[in-house]
Symmetry: C2
Subunit: 460 residues, 2 copies
């Protein structure tokens, strides 16, 4: 029996306890964007620090102006070194009433098609994925007393609220973060049973606007017809962001977008991701994006704009005849290719101002933006990971783009000079960011085994 | 000293205690639209019943499927009889953080220009106004042991949530509601020191919509570009309700709107209600309604549309990249002339459906609608009230239209055959429906004295 086989066996034997540890972490409510959960974030960080220390890592909480970073290292002189990144923070849980069971009380559920899954906020994004890597390390240590490579684990607490303090931390801790390659476990498989390595990521611009008109809320009976209603103004700004063909209307928005080569488009077409496959599982039937684009383009290689929140006036039960003083919207843009986040932000702000009628003011709050990322296809580490994944899953890994944004990948390249392998075991039906988030037990078990294999492969 | 002078003197002498009673009523949180305040509503009704019973009224709470009606009668055989209407329920208090002091802890404040005012939710709308009438009755009884006319007091608890149960109650209690004229105290003066009698009221159609797309909230990174966003759809529906000239776009919306005669428009013009006078006090400068209409038309004689609430997606602190499953809006229309509420509702629903893209559903919830009201200018009761108001304020009362909707006035005509005198002492700067609602002490004091005079005038 090889060291690898022994480590895989240890992962299998330890699966029950691995799951218990995941449940313990999922019980800690670490919603980073909401100040009410500050204590929960620190508690989750502390739990991970202690768990990594128990595995022989030199582990510590490192303070930032926001939530702390967990930094843990287990060097192995003479062997390659990997920097693993994940995040312990989770998305808010609203709407809470749509959860079948409380979001921070993890449970094992059997899905309609017989799959078993862990249900809880963060089960997939990203606590479940983080724990696949930690448990892989544990299996190696249990089986052979050591890891095949040196490992540094960096777990962030602000991924879900813009990673605002991470770049400064990376610069500050640069000397401790030396590695040959970075590993990130925060992405999805192509489909159940079909692993994927993500080679491109969309960038992000996130803006919050507040439109103000009168200096107070007004009675629509007394003032309606004469007083400006900021809700109408916000709705007009939102409604004008797309044209009838689904394209974003901001001047210059498509500058820097790179057309996908025809041969790549053909490969994508062969994957057969049509409306039935992609939209039907979420109750939709027609792609809503740019006309004449395949769905896979709409979600991976084309830039987009979505309103993520819109609110103002009376939102309670019953009727209230108010003209509110303020209206609010959260609006985000996904970027691709060489689109410049700063220019998109400028174009959006100029556009919004251009639609303001008399007596209205607009205030902008910008969250951290990021450029899109394209990873090299030809690195040796990528080839080793592909082999390891094929060994575990019995099928070639797909190399795909992701519609999401993981700014840390750009930061690793820019600040640490590191390329990143994005390998994750989430599935599209994991309901991440939604009620009843889940992580397949199979993702958890074989994800752990995949990391056991990848760690061995990267040592060679 | 005449009976009238004695009653006026009694009102003046009792002013301190009158104010104490108003404060006691204002302390009771009777928000009718929010089920959380059900007990508060009943408590306010009970307080008023007991107070009227103490004045020798035969008073009772009358149950409805919603909040109870207070009905109290003090007959005077051989004398004219009046039916007084007011409401004890109040608007919700949100946004609570904009209140300088808690909304249900009434206080006396000195305004910047030296005026004194009672500050609390309901101070003006409508508890303060109701109490002016009750205290006028008390003054008459204190001064002469009796009222000049027979009085029935009907106080509703659902005015702020559509008066949904009132028409059925009026029909049921019809035999107890006989009177020569109805009095309603829920309107404003023309300006501080200048009393008004309101002779027209706009009608109301209030609709709530829910737009649904996917069957769950989605991650905008994974689905953005392909999945329909219901917030965009709701914004498009709202943004399309007005054209560039400020007119409402619904087909047939202006059917039944009656042009104000030129001579009346000239009289209105002479009142000098320009943007400086009307909009500047609320921080605005340009009328936002139909182009080429005077402000007084925009708020009194022209129909309007306002979005009173709009919400969906993530509205908390920070950034969340969600495509929500639902978006919501509350949309109301103010009607004039012969506009038909049922047709406006139909036109709105057809319009909203016509703007739905693929995969979207829309649900409508209609609140009670009402037609606009025009009262006769030539009734003897109106002439008597005008004289009484002139005696109290030393200046002629203005006969104006109101932009608001008071459906009970139409119900009184239709169900009881009664004309209504709408006389109130609120001011435009009372912040009704807004934080820091207030009622001038002068409105309270001279409003009470006005009713003392009007009761005497109506006896003649």
């Amino acid at each position: 029996m090889s060291d690898l086989d022994r480590a895989l066996a240890a992962a299998d034997v330890g699966q029950g306890e691995s799951l218990e540890r995941l449940f313990a972490l999922l019980k800690i409510p670490s919603v980073s964007t909401d100040p009410a959960y500050k204590t929960g974030c620190r508690e989750a960080a502390d739990w991970l620090k202690r768990d990594l220390a128990a595995l022989g890592f030199s582990a510590a909480l490192r303070e930032t102006p926001g939530h702390p970073v967990v930094l843990a290292t287990r060097p192995k002189p003479g062997a390659p070194h990997v920097l693993f990144y994940g995040h312990y923070d989770v998305q808010p849980v609203d709407p809470l009433d749509k959860w079948e069971t409380p979001p921070f009380e993890p449970r094992l559920a059997t899905l309609k098609d017989g799959r078993q899954a862990v249900v809880a906020r963060g089960a997939s994004d990203d606590k479940g994925q983080v724990i696949t890597f930690v448990e892989a390390c544990r299996a190696w240590i249990a089986a052979s007393g050591d890891l095949p490579v040196g490992v540094t684990v960096l777990l962030e607490g602000e991924e879900e609220c813009g990673s605002i303090n991470l770049p400064a931390f990376l610069e500050e801790a640069k000397s401790e973060l030396g590695a040959d390659v970075a590993l990130v476990c925060d992405t999805a498989m192509w489909a159940a049973g079909r692993p994927a390595i993500t080679s491109s990521l969309r960038g992000l611009v996130y803006e919050e606007i507040t439109v103000r008109a009168a200096d107070r809320d007004l009675h629509s009976g007394l003032y309606g017809g004469a007083a400006r209603n900021p809700l109408h103004v916000a709705a007009d700004i939102v409604a004008g962001l797309h044209d009838a063909d689904g394209r974003v209307t901001l001047p210059g928005f498509y500058d820097g977008v790179i057309e996908t080569p025809d041969d790549v488009r053909e490969q994508w077409r062969a994957l057969g991701l049509d409306a039935d496959a992609f939209l039907k599982p979420i109750g939709l039937s027609e792609p809503a994006g740019e006309r004449d684009r395949m769905i896979i383009e709409q979600i991976q290689s084309r830039p987009t704009c979505d309103v993520n929140g819109l609110w103002g006036g009376y939102t309670g039960a019953g009727a209230k005849t108010v003209i509110p003083a303020e209206a609010h919207a959260k609006i985000s843009f996904r970027l691709v290719g060489d689109q410049d986040p700063a220019k998109v932000k400028q174009a959006f702000r100029a556009y919004a101002r251009s639609r303001l009628p008399a007596d209205c003011e607009i205030a902008f709050e910008g969250h951290k933006g990021s450029r899109a990322i394209q990873l090299p296809f030809d690195s040796p580490a990528l080839a080793k990971a592909r082999t390891a994944l094929a060994d575990e899953w019995g099928v070639e890994a797909v190399t795909i783009g992701s519609g999401g944004s993981i700014p840390v990948v750009g930061d690793f390249k820019r600040l640490l000079g590191l390329d990143t392998l994005l390998i994750g075991f989430a599935l599209d039906d994991d309901r991440i960011h939604s009620p009843n988030e889940k992580y397949d037990l199979d993702s958890f078990r074989r994800g752990t085994r995949s990391w056991v294999r990848i760690l061995a492969a990267l040592a060679g």
